[in-house]
């Protein structure tokens, strides 16, 4: 088992890094929504899937390609998120968190069922944009340009989000608003609107991850449900209040999973759950969580 070659290992670590950046990006939206709003957004997987589908539809119906999709899609799906929040989720704030979980779970079923009904399950074709095609020979492996782009973009977006929330005034207001809404409202800040926009932003991030995924993963109605549980695990391990926790865990997990895929591939789907169970037992608030 340990007769590995350094080049092969480096290749696997790189792949792990790529996947990690993807996990980080994906869990970012969920972390924002839970960390700040205490809503457990089970619809996250379906919103990610919608992001990929909107990208496909933009190409099919309007001819707008990948780069346009990156910008437009988060707003479209985020907008839908805002509608959901205003009409349904807002009513549950006074209740136990678990009702939010159940509601968003139901919404996920509706959205996935509807897409299944219309698009079947074999998936739709979506290609890597011309400018990002091709591979770079790194010596120990061939790295597709697109994947390198994903790492870079993901890091940038993750750090930008973390910065906005933890280091800017806007982020400070947001964090205060969730801890003590009435007080913050007396300062003249429209708290409900902030919450709505934050939910929309979290959903937009999910959709953005969907656009990133469309060229390399199968664009199908069930693409979200396969990932949602993993994403939850990432957020839980990282600490449900912590943006940085999700980012670090996302990258870390990608690497651990990558190594598992090399040494013991059969376990690569379960390793994350094992880690989650262990973390929850030793340090239930997660690696970076506060509570």
């Amino acid at each position: 088992m340990f007769d590995i070659s350094v080049p092969a290992l480096m290749g696997q670590l790189t792949v792990g890094l790529i996947n990690g950046s993807f996990y980080a990006l994906l869990s970012l939206g969920l972390a924002v929504i839970f960390g700040l709003l205490n809503i457990i957004n089970f619809t996250h997987g379906a919103q990610y899937m919608m992001g990929a589908f909107v990208a496909y539809l933009l190409l099919e119906k309007t001819g707008l390609g990948y780069w346009w999709a990156l910008v437009i899609t988060p707003f479209i799906v985020g907008g839908l998120g805002v509608v959901i929040e205003r009409t349904m989720i807002a009513r549950l704030y006074k209740l136990d968190h678990l009702y939010g979980l159940l509601l968003t779970f139901g919404l996920a079923l509706i959205i996935e069922g509807a897409f299944h009904h219309n698009y079947g399950s074999a998936g739709l074709p979506y290609s890597i944009p011309q400018s990002l095609q091709g591979v770079q020979n790194l010596g120990f492996m061939f790295l597709p340009f697109y994947r390198a782009w994903v790492i870079v973009a993901s890091l940038a977006i993750c750090l930008a989000t973390w910065f906005v929330i933890e280091r800017t005034k806007l982020g400070a207001y947001l964090r205060a608003a969730t801890e003590n809404p009435t007080l913050v409202q007396t300062f003249g800040i429209n708290v409900p609107r902030m919450i709505t926009l934050t939910y929309g932003a979290g959903v937009g991030l999910a959709a953005l991850a969907g656009v990133f995924a469309a060229p390399i993963y199968q664009v199908s109605p069930q693409m979200g449900s396969s990932l949602i549980i993993v994403v939850f695990a990432v957020v839980v391990i990282g600490g449900m209040g912590s943006i940085m926790g999700s980012i670090v865990t996302g990258f870390g997990l990608g690497i651990i999973e990558g190594l598992t895929k090399y040494f013991y591939p059969e376990a690569s789907s379960t390793v994350i759950f094992v880690i989650m169970a262990i973390v929850l037992m030793i340090r239930p608030q997660g690696l970076f969580g506060q509570r």
């Binding site: 792949v15 009904h117 079947g120 074999a122 290609s127 591939p265």
Partner: protein
């Protein structure tokens, strides 16, 4: 007196014939299409299979032959409990005489037991498990279209013969994937090829980069994809990304349907080698039938599963008409006696173990430049004659085979 005796004998004979002439139960031959209408396999079969069954009833001109035929359908939602409930209910209270399609091997095996208990016919066109005509074979079950052995052998042998003699497998880590890999490895080795390695991937894994890297490193000429559905699509999509085919290796899809290729897109799927028993564009007959099908199916081309439903219903009705009965075991026995012949699969036969033998074809996915219209995806590489395409009768372990 001789005349009277003759008349008496003749009358007696007629009377006996009359009673021996078995009845069509409830005066209706009821066909139940049971498949996945809303999940993973909805594209392979789904409503298309129902359409195929109805077309077969029309083409058979049942009314003219004095038969009343009805087609009903239901969604088993990929749940064996739902499927067995529906199958039991259909047989017990709705007079269903034959069950068609049933993709998803787990569900198919469950339904197989139901028909065994209830003594009704079952024509499977969607499931892959070769156990249906092997260890779990039944005198009531006929297995059309494909199974894991045929796929492994068709693809494996044909590829090795054309020079693809070193293999690396990316295998879905569950019974189906293992079976595909095992059968294909055997064929490859028997025909002089070598298996350089394999990697087992959990089911529904999304990212194959790590495994594709390992496949690249092995330098095998052929990368065998022992998986199906979303796993296959993701493997192929990402293989294109990593430049696997450009780097000189070829992908062999061990279970790929037309709908999968449609979902991946030719730019990524080109060069993929696969085995199928039906392709809509193969010859004039299949083209004519497929055009009729597509007109009623929203322009979507038929898959081999749907074609199998058509052919199965046609052959079933032929057997019913021949013996004028829809009694489960009698019809299936008659189906085994009559050779099969339809515009979709050509000439073939139903074996003792329930396996339907027909020709299989090795296809290669066209380059985008070679495709002139939607669904124009395959070019023929080789034809595998019926006699070689399926597992030999004695190797299956079916208790019906003496």
């Amino acid at each position: 007196m001789t005349l009277k005796l003759k008349t008496l004998v003749a009358a007696a004979a007629l009377a006996l014939a009359g009673t021996a002439q078995a009845q069509i139960s409830g005066n209706v031959v009821k066909i139940g299409v049971l498949n996945d209408q809303s999940g993973l396999y909805a594209d392979l079969g789904g409503q298309g299979s129902v359409l195929a069954a109805k077309m077969a009833v029309e083409d058979f001109k049942a009314k003219d032959k004095g038969l009343n035929v009805e087609v009903i359908f239901a969604d088993h939602q990929n749940k064996p409990d739902v499927a067995t409930q529906i199958a039991n209910k259909w047989i017990d209270s709705e007079g269903v005489d034959v069950i068609l399609d049933v993709p998803n091997s787990g569900v198919a095996l469950a339904v197989n037991e139901v028909v065994r208990n209830k003594k009704k016919a079952f024509i499977n066109s969607g499931a892959a498990s070769s156990d249906l005509t092997g260890a779990k074979c039944s005198p009531y079950t006929v297995h059309w279209t494909y199974d894991t052995w045929m796929l492994a052998n068709g693809t494996g042998k044909a590829i090795v013969k054309t020079g693809g003699d070193t293999w690396f497998f990316i295998t879905a880590d569950y019974a189906f994937g293992h079976a595909l890999e095992r059968d294909t490895s055997e064929v490859v080795k028997k025909n002089g090829g070598k298996v350089l390695g394999d990697v087992k991937v959990p089911l529904n894994n999304q990212d194959f980069s790590s495994f594709l890297l390992q496949a690249q490193a092995s330098k095998a000429k052929i990368i065998g994809l022992a998986n199906a559905g979303g796993d296959t699509i993701n493997s192929i999509k990402q293989a294109a990304e990593f430049g696997i085919v450009k780097g000189g290796q070829n992908l062999a899809g061990l279970l790929v349907f037309l709908t999968d290729v449609h979902g991946i897109g030719l730019d990524k799927a080109q060069g993929l080698i696969l085995t199928s028993t039906f392709y809509w564009d193969r010859d004039d007959q299949t083209r004519a039938w497929s055009k009729r099908f597509m007109a009623q199916n929203g322009g979507k081309a038929p898959t081999m599963v749907q074609a199998g439903v058509y052919a199965g219903v046609l052959h079933y009705l032929k057997a019913v008409a021949a013996i004028k009965s829809d009694d489960g075991i009698k019809v299936v026995d008659e189906m085994k006696k009559l050779p099969t012949d339809d515009p979709l699969f050509g000439k073939g036969s139903v074996r003792q173990d329930g396996r339907v033998i027909h020709d299989a074809y090795l296809y290669e996915v066209k380059k985008p430049s070679e495709s002139k219209a939607p669904y124009d995806y395959y070019k023929l590489r080789a034809t595998i004659p019926a006699a070689e395409a399926f597992r030999p009768l004695k190797d299956g372990g079916c208790p019906l085979v003496k």
